[in-house]
């Protein structure tokens, strides 16, 4: 499964949104209705799925789906 699909799947699972809502430009807070705890849980979901730790400073910059994918792609992920 591609990185994009895995990220999309996690977002759908954690936020209970529809697949078509999860576009690259979608903002977690305004477009996907995630409050701060939702976003924290989402970050933990990415950490668990991709076996990495995202520190808080980095996490606060990951405000859109596209930024998350970009961030993960830049990591040398052991998939």
């Amino acid at each position: 499964m591609s990185l994009e699909s895995r990220v999309t799947e996690i977002i759908i699972d954690k936020l209970g949104v529809k697949p078509e809502q999860v576009t690259l430009e979608a903002q977690f807070d305004t477009d996907l209705g995630a409050d701060s705890i939702d976003q924290y849980e989402l970050i933990m979901g990415f950490e668990d799925a991709f076996g990495l730790r995202i520190d808080e400073d980095e996490a606060t910059k990951l405000t859109t789906v596209g930024k998350v994918i970009e961030y993960l792609r830049a990591k040398d992920l052991d998939q």
């Binding site: 954690k14 936020l15 849980e41």
Partner: protein, 414 residues
């Protein structure tokens, strides 16, 4: 003269059904909801049977995000509250700021607590789910129901073990009498079937070990009773000020005429000698309802099927009503088929009592075969019975020595 309070909606999800009416039909026909436990592997437990809510999928009721972020106990409360709310027809017929919620639980989110504790031990404290606290706390069912139905009036939880939802109803009635709000969704919920939940009650030696015969394991007042059966579920009623209900043309199930609340101040788990505290609760409830012992046509007993409860509650009923009246008064325990729903028990039994008044049918102590020595009241054994009654009591007693009796009355017009 204080305001009168009536029941205008009821919701139940539990071992014998997923709606109030399904529960009532099965309570009357004496259909047991007790089976071998499946939610947790029962192999190591002394008691391997339970009253589970069968085939419960929260997604049948709640959206995915809410379902993922609520403990099973909260989900039961939400399902029951929605039914009571919908049945009452109160939506758009009440100022949301005049609608309250009081929902009790004996334990709260123990499933969530166990799961996240395991995460903390195995993967570290910084892997605990960020929603852990607001999922686990025992007031969150009330909070969630408030959000779900848009109730903006008083909102809190009552926590008195197996008397929790009895207290929720008693306090709700008083709140409405005081004019704090016009209506309250009151009740309780419980989901205790977890490793520590079941294991803890097993260690207390409180549970029936009749594992080879689940359906008759809960046998209140029987000489062969050997403990209660742990169950789960939720039960909620819509309590409403009478004039408010009449003005909007609500269908009235029954009236809640009063309550009595006491403490044994004796022992944390054992009832006081001769059920002294419970007897006082019944007397106070009759006094509050303005009725005499001879007016009581039915008592839905706490009747847990433990050695100590059933004999002491029997003595308490004799003390409260006087032996002569007590011997003439039908008393039954619907825990014979539901098992013990702990924090939801008081509300589900108040609902059965209200339906008994409405329909003129007394639910049986379905599993009672050989009444114990000293258990010599009319326990409506085996079969339901027709009886046109005007007044009834419902008892709930909880660890900590908490006693609450709700007095209900048939509604026959203002």
């Amino acid at each position: 003269m204080h305001k009168r309070v009536v029941i205008t909606g009821a919701g139940v999800i539990g071992p014998i059904g997923k709606t109030a009416s399904e529960n009532w039909e099965n309570a009357i026909s004496g259909k047991s909801g007790i089976r071998r436990m499946t939610i947790v592997d029962p192999e190591d437990f002394t008691s391997q049977i339970a009253g589970e809510v069968k085939d419960f999928d929260p997604l049948d009721y709640l959206d995915r995000k809410v379902a993922k972020r609520t403990d099973r106990y909260t989900q039961f409360a939400m399902v029951a509250a929605r039914e009571a709310f919908t049945e009452s027809g109160i939506e758009n017929n009440i100022d949301p700021e005049r609608l309250g919620v009081i929902i009790g639980s004996g334990i709260g989110g123990i499933t969530t607590l166990e799961r996240e504790h395991k995460v903390a031990l195995e993967r570290g404290v910084n892997r605990i789910n960020p929603f852990f606290c607001p999922m686990m706390i025992s007031n969150i069912a009330a909070g969630r129901v408030g959000i779900d139905v848009g109730a903006k009036g008083l909102n809190f939880s009552t926590v008195t073990a197996c008397a929790s939802s009895g207290h929720a109803i008693a306090i709700a009635v008083d709140m409405i009498r005081l004019g704090r709000v016009d209506a309250i969704l009151a009740g309780g919920s419980e989901a205790p079937l977890t490793l520590t939940g079941v294991g803890g009650f097993c260690q207390l030696k409180a549970l029936s070990t009749r594992n080879d015969d689940p359906q008759t394991a809960s046998r209140p007042f029987d000489r062969d009773r050997d403990g209660f059966v742990l169950s789960e579920g939720g039960a909620v009623i819509m309590l409403e000020e009478l004039d408010h209900a009449l003005k909007r043309g609500a269908k009235i199930i029954a009236e809640v005429a009063g309550s009595g609340m006491t403490c044994d101040a004796f022992h944390i788990t054992a009832p006081a000698e001769n059920g002294e505290g419970s007897a006082r609760a019944m007397k106070l409830a009759m006094q509050d309802a303005g009725i005499k012992p001879e007016d009581v046509g039915y008592i839905n007993a706490h009747g847990t099927s433990t050695l100590l409860n059933d004999i002491n509650e029997t003595i308490a009923i004799k003390t409260a009503l006087g032996t002569e009246n007590a011997m003439k008064t039908p008393v039954s325990s619907t825990k014979s088929v539901t098992g013990h729903m702990l924090g939801a028990a008081g509300a589900v039994e108040a609902i059965f009592t209200a339906f008994a008044l409405r329909d003129g049918i007394l639910p049986p102590t379905a599993t009672l075969q050989n009444p114990d020595e000293g258990c010599d009241l009319d326990y409506v054994p085996g079969q339901a019975r027709k009886a046109d009654i005007m007044h009834a009591l419902s008892n709930s007693l909880g660890f900590g020595g908490h006693n609450v009796t709700i007095a209900l009355k048939k509604y026959i017009g203002k």
